[in-house]
Symmetry: C2
Subunit: 360 residues, 2 copies
C-alpha cells in the first residue's frame, strides 16, 4: 500500500471520486532574513513561495530561473505537487498570506505584508481577521474535497512557537526541511517571542510567534467542515500546529467540534512521519487522538538522481502540500512510481545545470 494510515477513521473513502481543489497558503517570515531558522538558501528565500506555486500551476518557475532547490540538489517538494496536479488534473488555488515576492499567477490576496519578526513576538496583529478571511475563502469554494498545503520558509519554527505557546509538549517533536535541524536556535527564537504574547489566547499566541498561513488555513478548514467537505491539512508538523490552532479556536470561540466530525485529516509524506528527529504522531495525539494522519510513500530510493535520493536521507521531506496531495491521488488510483518518473523526466528541464551553478 502506498499510504501509511494512523488513526484511520474511514476518511479515505470520503475523498474517492470526488471533485478536489488543491489550495496552498503562502507567507514569508521577516525573521528568516537575519536568523538562519530555515534551511532555504538565503539568496532565494524570499522567492521560494512564489516560485513553488508558479511551478505547481504552470510547470515552470517565473520569479527565479529554476524552482527552489537545496545545496545537495534536492528539489523543492513543489515538484511532487506539480506531478500530482498534472497527472491527475487537479485545480490549484494560491492564497497569499504575505509572501515577500508575489507569484506571477493569479492568487487570492488576504494579506499583502509578510509575517513579521517572531523573535520579537511581532508575527502579526491581525490573526483574528485572517481567520475570518480564511472562513470566507472556504465558504465560497465549490469543490467536494479540499486539500490545503503551505509554503512558508521558516514555518517549522512558527509551528514550534505556537504549539509551545498553547501548552503542548513539542520541544523535540518538530520536523525540519534540513538534514540538520537547528533545534536550539529555533527554540531560542520562539521562547523569546513568546515573552511578548499578550495572553495564552490562541490569537495572541499567533500574533506573537505564529505565521499568517496558520489562521487562514484554520478558517478555511472551519467553513469547509461546516459544509460537510472533507479537508486534508497537507503538511507535516506545521499542519499539526494548525491543528492545535483549530482545536483551540473551537474550544474557546466556535464550539463546533470540528475535529470530532471526522472531516479533518492530516496528509503528509513518509519522510516526515518517519523522521527520527521529530514526532508528528505524538503531537497530533496530544491535540485530538481522533484525527487521522495519512502519509504518502515515495520510491525515491529507486531514483538515479541524487537530488531525489536526498529525500530518503532527510532533505526537504515535505512542503507545498506534496504529501497530502499525493495521499489524495493515491487514494484515487495514482501509482507512486508515476510521481517519481514525472519528476525525473522533468528534472533536467527544470534545473538546467547552468542555472543550478548560478544559484549555488
Amino acid at each position: 500500500m502506498s499510504i501509511i494510515s494512523v488513526n484511520d477513521n474511514g476518511f479515505l473513502d470520503k475523498i474517492k471520486n470526488k471533485k478536489v481543489q488543491f489550495s496552498c497558503v503562502i507567507s514569508s517570515i521577516e525573521t528568516t532574513k537575519y536568523i538562519p531558522i530555515s534551511g532555504v538558501n538565503k539568496k532565494v528565500i524570499e522567492y521560494t513561495p512564489a516560485a513553488d506555486m508558479e511551478l505547481v500551476v504552470l510547470g515552470k518557475s517565473l520569479s527565479i530561473s529554476t524552482p527552489p532547490i537545496d545545496a545537495t540538489g534536492c528539489p523543492s517538494p513543489a515538484t511532487i505537487t506539480r506531478a500530482n496536479v498534472d497527472l491527475k488534473d487537479i485545480p490549484v488555488l494560491t492564497v497569499d498570506a504575505g509572501s515577500a515576492v508575489k507569484p506571477k499567477i493569479p492568487y487570492i490576496s488576504v494579506d499583502e505584508k509578510p509575517t513579521g519578526d517572531i523573535y520579537k513576538g511581532k508575527a502579526m496583529d491581525n490573526s483574528k481577521e485572517l481567520f475570518k478571511m480564511g472562513e470566507i475563502i472556504g465558504k465560497n469554494l465549490t469543490c467536494d474535497v479540499l486539500i490545503i498545503g503551505e509554503s512558508v520558509p521558516g514555518g517549522t519554527t512558527t509551528a514550534l512557537g505556537v504549539l509551545l505557546g498553547l501548552g503542548y509538549d513539542a520541544k523535540d517533536k518538530i520536523s525540519s526541511g534540513s538534514v540538520e535541524n537547528p533545534k536550539e536556535l529555533k527554540l531560542n527564537v520562539v521562547e523569546n517571542g513568546l515573552k511578548y504574547a499578550k495572553s495564552k489566547d490562541v490569537f495572541d499566541v499567533l500574533n506573537a510567534v505564529g505565521d499568517k498561513m496558520m489562521p487562514v488555513v484554520a478558517g478555511m478548514a472551519f467553513s469547509s467542515a461546516k459544509q460537510g467537505r472533507p479537508v486534508i491539512l497537507a503538511g507535516g508538523t506545521q499542519m499539526a500546529s494548525v491543528l492545535s490552532v483549530i482545536s483551540e479556536i473551537d474550544k474557546n470561540y466556535k464550539k463546533e467540534n470540528i475535529l470530532k466530525s471526522g472531516l479533518v485529516s492530516i496528509g503528509t509524506t513518509e519522510f516526515v512521519l518517519n523522521d527520527k528527529n521529530a514526532d508528528l504522531k505524538g503531537i497530533v495525539e496530544q491535540i485530538d487522538e481522533n484525527v487521522p494522519i495519512f502519509a504518502s510513500k515515495f520510491d525515491y530510493d529507486k531514483s538515479e538522481l541524487d537530488g531525489l535520493k536526498s529525500y530518503c536521507k532527510g532533505s526537504v521531506k515535505e512542503g507545498v502540500g506534496a504529501g497530502g496531495i499525493s495521499v489524495y491521488s493515491y487514494a484515487n488510483g495514482l501509482n507512486l512510481n508515476k510521481v517519481r518518473k514525472y519528476v525525473e523526466k522533468n528534472y533536467y528541464k527544470w534545473f538546467s545545470v547552468d542555472e543550478w551553478i548560478i544559484l549555488h
Copy 2:
C-alpha cells in the same frame, strides 16, 4: 416565465442542478476621475467595486458606509446579486483587475493597478498577459457552471470603444447605468483614444480603449469552455463587448470555435434587453448569431420603494452580474418576487437614512 430568451439553444438545460460559481471581475478606470462618463457619484466612484463585492459576499459594505446608491435612491445592482447569493447559497469569487480601492474580503489579484486613461489610448499595456491570467483562473476552478459578472464604473464607455475598434456598428447601441446616457461624450472619449491604438488587433484595441476586466473575463471563458463548462457572461452591453473580444481572439489566436460550442451565453436584465437607447441583441447578432441571450425579469414595478421602481424607469439597469445570476437562479427554481422581497427587506438596513443623506 421569468426569463426572456433570445436565440435559445438549450443552454438553460445545461445549467440546471449543477454546481455553480459566481465570479465578478472588478476594475476602476482613470478617465472617470476627470470626465463624467459614469453616472456613479464622483465621491464614491473609486469605492464602488469594493463596496459592491463586500455586499455580495458579506451582506454589508465595509469600504463605505452604505452600498453604492444613485442620486434617485436607486440601489446598486449588487443588491440583486446579494439576494441571489444568499437565497440560493451561491459561492462567490472576486477577481481584482485593478479596482482603485481593494475590497476588504479575499479576492483573486491579477492586476493591482486600475485601467488607465482611455481618452489618451492608454487603458493598459498588458491585455495579452491579463487574458492568460484569466485562462489560468478558469482552468483552476472546480464548478460545473461559471457565471462571470463585472463591476467597472465607466465600463459602458470602454465597451463602446472596443466594439468600435473591432469594427462593429455600436454607436447607438451601447447601454448606460444612467437614465440620461451621455452618448456624445462617450463617443468623443473613445474616438480620441482609438487614434492611439497601435493596430486593429484585439489586444492593441484593448490596450488603447478597453478595461482590464475584459481580457480577464475572456480568458476565464476560454478555459472554462475548453473544459466543457457552461459560462454565463453576466452583464449587458459590456459583456457583448467581451463577446467581441472572445470572438476576435478565437479567430486570430486560439481557433477553438468556442462561440459555436453552445457553452457561452449572455445573461442580463430585462432593463438592458429592453433599453430603447441601446441594442444588446443587435450587437450580439453582429458578433455571432448563435450566442443565446437570456434576460431575467424583475417585478420592481410592484415595489413600494421608489429606489426599486427607478430600475423600471431606466436607472442602473444592470451590473455586478445581477441579471446573469438571476437567470441561473430562476432556471433553478427561484421565484422573481423572492428577489424583490429580499432587497425590500434589507433596503433600510443597508441604506439607513442618515447615511444616505451624508452621501448625497
